[in-house]
Symmetry: C2
Subunit: 351 residues, 2 copies
Amino acid sequence: MKISVDVMGGDKGPAMVLPGLNLLLTRQPSAEFLLFGEKEKVLPILEGLPDLKAVSHFTHCEVTVAMDDKPSQALRSGRGKSSMWLAIEAVKKGEADFCISAGNTGALMAMSKFCLRTMNNIERPAIAAIWPTVKGESVVLDMGATIGADAQQLVDFALMGGAMARALFDLEKPSIGLLNVGVEEVKGLEEIRTAGRILRDLEDHALDYFGFVEGTDLGKGTVDVVVTEGFTGNIALKTAEGTAKQISSYLRSAMTRTWRAKLGYLLAKPAFDRLREKMNPSKVNGGVFLGLNGIVIKSHGGADSEGFASATELGYKIVENDLLKKIKSDMAGYDIQMKQEADQAQEGTSK
Amino acid sequence: MKISVDVMGGDKGPAMVLPGLNLLLTRQPSAEFLLFGEKEKVLPILEGLPDLKAVSHFTHCEVTVAMDDKPSQALRSGRGKSSMWLAIEAVKKGEADFCISAGNTGALMAMSKFCLRTMNNIERPAIAAIWPTVKGESVVLDMGATIGADAQQLVDFALMGGAMARALFDLEKPSIGLLNVGVEEVKGLEEIRTAGRILRDLEDHALDYFGFVEGTDLGKGTVDVVVTEGFTGNIALKTAEGTAKQISSYLRSAMTRTWRAKLGYLLAKPAFDRLREKMNPSKVNGGVFLGLNGIVIKSHGGADSEGFASATELGYKIVENDLLKKIKSDMAGYDIQMKQEADQAQEGTSK
């Protein structure tokens, strides 16, 4: 497995990325790396990680995309020469199985679209996240790539998310829900209702359409895949992150107020550590760009090395389980069914 | 203060509502009630609450709006005769200062719009919620009344939310944020950007426009008022509720796994109780319908009596602090400013 890495991405760049890759190597010893970055910043750290160095090929790049560059700006200054661009291009050239970056999301998506292009039948890409739930994990998309998706795009997201759930969770027929509001009066924007009808009609297909789900269903794990357009998905993800932080802060202050609470905390510390582990965003780090001719993983810019290793391992598993092939065959099956239905409708009309 | 109450609303109806009102009475002894409901179900419980009975006037209604009635159905069968309708109508007639119901949200909004009508300058109503934050509380709107608001509607929501924050939080100039996504590439749907420009230009006004905020800012309490359209607001609210439940469930299972954790839990129990209190949704129950010619409060249908009392007290405070008057004067000030600017622009053109 060859992984191309934008070593300069993230708030801490090489100092976070390289130890993260080294950690991944202990878990996935067959990984090899194509590293892209500024040699002055990368090589001194790489020297200290001989195991990683032994399985890496380093390419120096003059240009680094800044965390606050606008996508258009990043494309202009970084196309063909930045560490981000070259890492993506390695996937296009077939030199790497997937690419990972903790850099600026907008720039990474713009460059990925420009370099890899969207798949044949897909109009717009999506960013999928792994959402921890009471039952385990779900795939949730889109996290912000496509604002205001139409019905067909929502259906594409459902198919791609379903393929990802099959690749990651070892499920034959993942259940799919469309995120919606529960107020009866307004239930279903037109595009969500239409997407629901199309998904319901999909037969003999590798997914099980559940229906509409609400915000509360995300944490419950009601379905394996939750589909929404990028604006709502991004707000939901960040609201959940914010709520988790808020409760951690309440918990911390509750456990330090009195000597009894402090003592109780000490006794229950292993339990609190388990809880912290469960709530640790590092563990579920990694947004997967879906719908492009190649896999690109976005790690959180503020992730630590552990988080970067998790995100890289997510890419590893996805590629190992042939996600792109699964998406292509699902989309092809869907297109054949749509075509047959159109033909039948045509026949019905001409009779 | 006279409060009209749809006693039949909520999953448990009178058995939850009447003890809730009785609880409110201990906190707000000057409250009086106009109760609407089915006499067979209301009177036996009211008999057992003599203090409440002494300050209540009961009206029997044949019809009860069901929790799963569609709004159109509820209007057809319940207009003029259901407990929900009559409670709202008491506000219209000036017999009550505000109305409260734990009934079906869609039906309550449809009836409220039909009976009270929207205010002069307001095109669409909003539902505002009180959001607990690390710093205290914020007003967040819209929670699902208006799906896909345009720029002008978002500005209206900002003004109404600002008036509500002034009425509740004793602030002179509440800070206002527009909920948006942080991905630079897509930052700002057009209507949100336009609303931001209008709010930024509002001078000498009783609000302080902060700019865009993200999902994580909700729990942080970055601003006093967070404005979004109803689809996103509803998803954000329910995602936060779901995340809080999910973490409670993690916490519960962590604290019962080992004897050390159990003992620690016992010692820290008062701290946990404080935490539970903080995370208790009953404490922040109550959606406020804004933009109508009268105040209607929606309590959560699954709320307990404590939660219903909180929601009622929210209405009490809002009316006590003259929310409607504040909204009207803010809207009038805004209209004058808009008109002046339009005149100036006109003058500029004609020169």
